[in-house]
């Protein structure tokens, strides 16, 4: 069954919650956007499973406040599985915002107990 409009809105909101959680350094809220065995493949390495995901946020450099921004969200899927491609920009907002990272997320998602979660989220930086 193709994804409904509600599925697409829910997935877009999951991406927003991910950004709010990482930017306000909330390990549980961030890990909650992934499945239990979810994998995050970032520019500084790969973490997999809830414990590593939690530790990733706890150990993250928080010296500068950052905001993650998304745009141009493309979602494909069927039933309880989806993939997404999303533009990403992060800003250092210590003062007037300056761009830190520009790139794209490549996501695979699954619906678990009625809620969409990332099973795999990979960052592709424009700089690399």
């Amino acid at each position: 069954m193709p994804l409904s409009i509600e599925d697409q809105l829910d997935i877009m909101e999951l991406m927003a919650r991910y950004n709010h959680a990482i930017d306000s350094s909330q390990p549980e809220a961030w890990a909650d956007t992934f499945t239990e065995d979810g994998v995050f493949e970032g520019s500084v390495g790969t973490v997999s499973g809830r414990e590593e995901l939690l530790a990733f946020v706890r150990n993250r450099d928080q010296s500068n406040p950052i905001r993650h921004w998304n745009n141009n969200i493309l979602i494909d899927g069927d039933g309880d599985d989806a993939t997404a491609k999303v533009y990403l920009v992060t800003f250092d907002v210590t003062g007037p915002p300056t761009v830190r990272v520009s790139g794209m997320y490549h996501d695979t998602l699954k619906r678990v107990d009625g809620q969409w979660k990332f099973t795999h989220r990979k960052v592709q930086s424009d700089a690399s």
Partner: protein
């Protein structure tokens, strides 16, 4: 009754109309997105109570229109029936003499209400980054709510 997809899209559009009205210096457009008793509160500019006071605030700096572009991202909407809350990140691009640079960033925390005129903003709180109070405190997910909403 949980918010429908129509409700969620309508609320996103109210947020977009606010940005567009500011960037075009469109006072009527701005008026249309607030309830009459709306409260607008900014960490940079203080509080304005009532729609007419809010619109007056922006009329007073109409010279900024066309030199600013308000962008938003990361919308999280919660709600039930005719009441909703919206958390939204803000980035203001400053356009000066052909130069574009990110000038301000922050977060909107809103409450919206639906009546015969549709969804409108009843309360908007703006916390500008750099005026740091609140930056770390943005809730990813209000307690006791369904994680997908």
């Amino acid at each position: 009754m949980p918010l429908s997809c129509d409700d969620r899209l309508d609320i996103l559009e109210v947020a977009a109309r606010y940005c567009r009205a500011l960037d075009r210096g469109d006072a009527e457009g701005l008026e249309a997105v607030f309830t009459e008793d709306a409260v607008w509160e900014s960490s940079a500019r203080g509080q304005r109570r009532g729609r007419s006071a809010i619109v007056d605030e922006f009329r007073a700096r109409a010279e900024q229109a066309h030199t600013r572009k308000h962008w938003t991202s990361n919308a999280v909407i919660e709600g039930d029936g005719d009441e909703a809350s919206l958390t939204l990140d803000l980035l203001v691009l400053h356009l000066d003499d052909g130069d574009v640079r990110p000038g301000t960033s922050g977060v909107y925390e809103d409450r919206l209400r639906r009546d015969a005129a549709g969804w409108r903003i009843a309360y908007r709180k703006i916390t500008v980054d750099g005026q740091r109070a609140g930056f770390r405190g943005v809730p990813a997910q209000p307690a006791g709510k369904d994680a997908t909403r």
